[in-house]
């Protein structure tokens, strides 16, 4: 382990910041064998790269377009061998306060070479950030859901999701094209994405934007129930008795 060079991935949306970090890593190379396996301009790009090029350590900025550093950390956990992640940040009051509290590693930009070297030497002893720890960091809702398929992380943009349905062990993500299996809790997803989805049933969240309308069905025994009709796919989902009020609520929004 100790003689194999440390494999690094640099993630930052600003090209000068990536270049600076590379220069500093070159300076460290004499003290510690390392190799930069790639550079990415966003969390999303980093995940794409890591699919084909594994790394031991990801040095990632926090504030980035497309996918920020904290969301990247969440998706990294879906990899079979998640790399260690150290955040680099110029200035983020809130994030840094939370990092201090929860002992999350970070480097402040401009980074000093000595600080960087110390951090690199610590890497073999570090573990990837746990999901529990990440939950405690202040973060916006994710822009993607991620699932593991054939040991790769597949990203599903949240705006493509039509519904989320809890089955026995998994949650089914339905998009216009296909289904994915997700290992998360429906309640937590509902909390995270709040207004985007509406609960139509104990086990099902539907994207508000995907609701085309509601239809009333009467069974042979005379029981009536509502079904929600969806945009983009030819499926209907039952609305539970407890959630029936949403039929009127959403119908009114459409009228208004």
């Amino acid at each position: 382990m100790s003689d194999a060079p440390l494999k690094l991935l640099i993630v930052d949306d600003e090209a000068p910041a990536r270049r600076r970090l590379r220069e500093l890593l070159d300076d460290c190379a004499s003290a510690l064998p390392l190799v930069v396996v790639g550079e990415a301009a966003s969390g999303r790009e980093a995940l794409g790269l890591l699919g084909s090029t594994p790394a031991d350590l990801v040095l990632s900025d926090i504030h980035m377009p497309d996918m920020d550093g904290i969301e990247l950390a969440r998706h990294l956990l879906k990899l079979s061998l998640p790399p260690v992640l150290i955040f680099t940040t110029a200035y983020h009051e809130h994030a840094i306060a939370a990092f201090e509290v929860h002992a999350v590693d970070y480097l402040v930009k401009p980074v000093r070479v000595q600080r960087l070297l110390t951090a690199l030497q610590k890497v073999p002893r570090l573990k990837p950030l746990s999901g529990a720890k990440l939950d405690k960091l202040p973060a916006a809702a994710r822009r993607f859901l991620s699932v593991t398929e054939r040991s790769r992380v597949v990203l599903v943009p949240i705006e493509d999701v039509i519904y989320l349905k809890a089955e026995l062990k998994y949650i089914t993500i339905r998009t216009a094209e296909r289904e994915y299996l997700l290992e998360e809790s429906l309640t937590k997803l509902e909390e995270e994405f709040g207004q985007r989805f509406v609960r139509v049933h104990r086990n099902c969240l539907v994207a508000r934007e995907a609701i085309r309308g509601f239809e009333r069905h009467v069974s042979a025994e005379g029981d009536a129930h509502w079904e929600v009709l969806l945009r983009g796919i030819n499926e209907a989902l039952p609305v539970s008795r407890r959630q029936q009020f949403i039929v009127r609520e959403i119908g009114r929004e459409d009228a208004g």
Binding site: D13, E14, A15, P16, A17, R19, R20, E23, A41, S42, H63, P65, D66, D68, A90, Y91, H92, V108, K109, P110, A140, R143
Partner: protein, 345 residues
């Protein structure tokens, strides 16, 4: 006027007699005085409206003539020492009142039996009370002006920008030392303006130059993602404006419009003179996803406050959100720099 160590309290000054805000305040106040007088005089409530109308009919020619003369004499009056200025205004009011009174009586237009001493007393008292009010108002606002200077410093420049820029300059040090030099000089200029006394107005051309330097620094770190379009062909370079009236808005535009997207975005800046007013319109892309508004409002409130302190009702700041772009529109009166002042700049 633009020395940086001027920490003395602002000197006593007459109100800006050509300012719309001042004129409106005088009009409202004098008519309110008339209402008070009528209320005190009339026995019955029902008689008040018609009595007030009659009084106003007599009052308005006096008031408007006074305002017109003050407007014409304003540049001269405002240059006088405060006490002499006050004396001149009171004399003017007395002369106008007596002259108009005599004219109306001669023409037989005066509905009341003319009573010059009473009218003179009302006119002088009104003028005195108003001058006292404007004096108090200036006093109340002058700490606000020095406060605004502090706020201008605190609300400006996100630390995020400073540290990212220093990091970008560091990245140039080894390979492009000359570009690094320019960037550091820009940074120094930016902070020189941020840290000086920003109570006095400064030429628009200076503010625009500062904005260019700021955007150059942002371009250094954001590269192709930041596209800037300047439209300043009809810009009055000598217009005096509050310092840092545009730069913080550009900082918002970069932070909210450019940074959240990996695709290139355009910031358009359009500055022009129209009908004696300076207009500045800034437009940037609006990113619905992942936006953070907290800092935005603070900068806007700060600028709005400083515009009000300097120009009262004659300046405005409006913002509007379109589907994909965000636009800020600033309107200020055109006040060209006085040559004598800019000589020692």
């Amino acid at each position: 006027m633009r020395t940086t160590v001027n920490q003395k309290p602002l000197p006593l000054q007459l109100p800006e007699l050509r300012n719309l805000g001042t004129v409106l305040r005088i009009l409202v106040a004098v008519n309110a005085f008339a209402l008070l007088a009528v209320l005190a005089r009339e026995q019955r409530w029902s008689a008040v409206p018609s009595a007030w109308l009659e009084t106003a009919a007599l009052l308005e020619p006096h008031l408007l003539l006074n305002l017109l003369l003050l407007y014409m004499l304003a540049p001269w009056l405002e240059r006088l020492p405060y006490r002499i200025g006050v004396l001149c205004i009171l004399t003017l009011v007395a002369v106008v009142t007596l002259t108009l009174n005599a004219t109306f009586t001669k023409l037989g237009l005066d509905p009341f039996a003319s009573d010059p001493p009473r009218h003179l007393a009302f006119a002088l008292l009104s003028a005195g009370v108003l001058l006292f009010y404007f004096h108090l108002r200036a006093k109340a606002l002058s700490p606000a002006i020095s406060e605004a200077r502090l706020q201008a410093l605190q609300a400006r420049i996100r630390p995020h920008f400073l540290f990212n820029s220093i990091n970008a300059v560091l990245s140039l040090m080894r390979r492009e030392p000359r570009r690094a030099e320019t960037a550091l000089e820009d940074l120094a200029d930016l902070f020189r303006v941020l840290m000086r006394d920003n109570r006095q107005l400064a030429p628009l051309a200076d503010e625009v130059e500062l904005c260019r330097q700021y955007l150059d620094l942002e371009k250094l770190r954001l590269g192709e993602r930041l596209v800037v379009e300047w439209h300043t062909e009809n810009m009055p370079r000598d217009a005096m404006v509050p310092p840092l009236v545009l730069q913080p808005l550009l900082e918002n535009a970069v932070y909210h419009g450019i940074e959240p997207s990996s695709a290139p975005g355009v910031i358009a800046i359009n500055i022009f003179l129209r009908r004696g007013e300076v207009h500045a319109i800034l437009r940037n892309p609006y990113q619905a996803a992942g936006n953070h508004h907290a800092g935005n409002k603070m900068a806007m409130d700060n600028i709005r406050e400083r515009l009000a302190l300097h120009f009262d009702a004659e300046a405005s700041l409006e913002s509007k959100m379109n589907r994909e772009s965000y636009e800020v529109h600033i309107r200020m009166p055109y006040r060209p720099a006085v040559v004598a002042q800019s000589e020692h700049v």
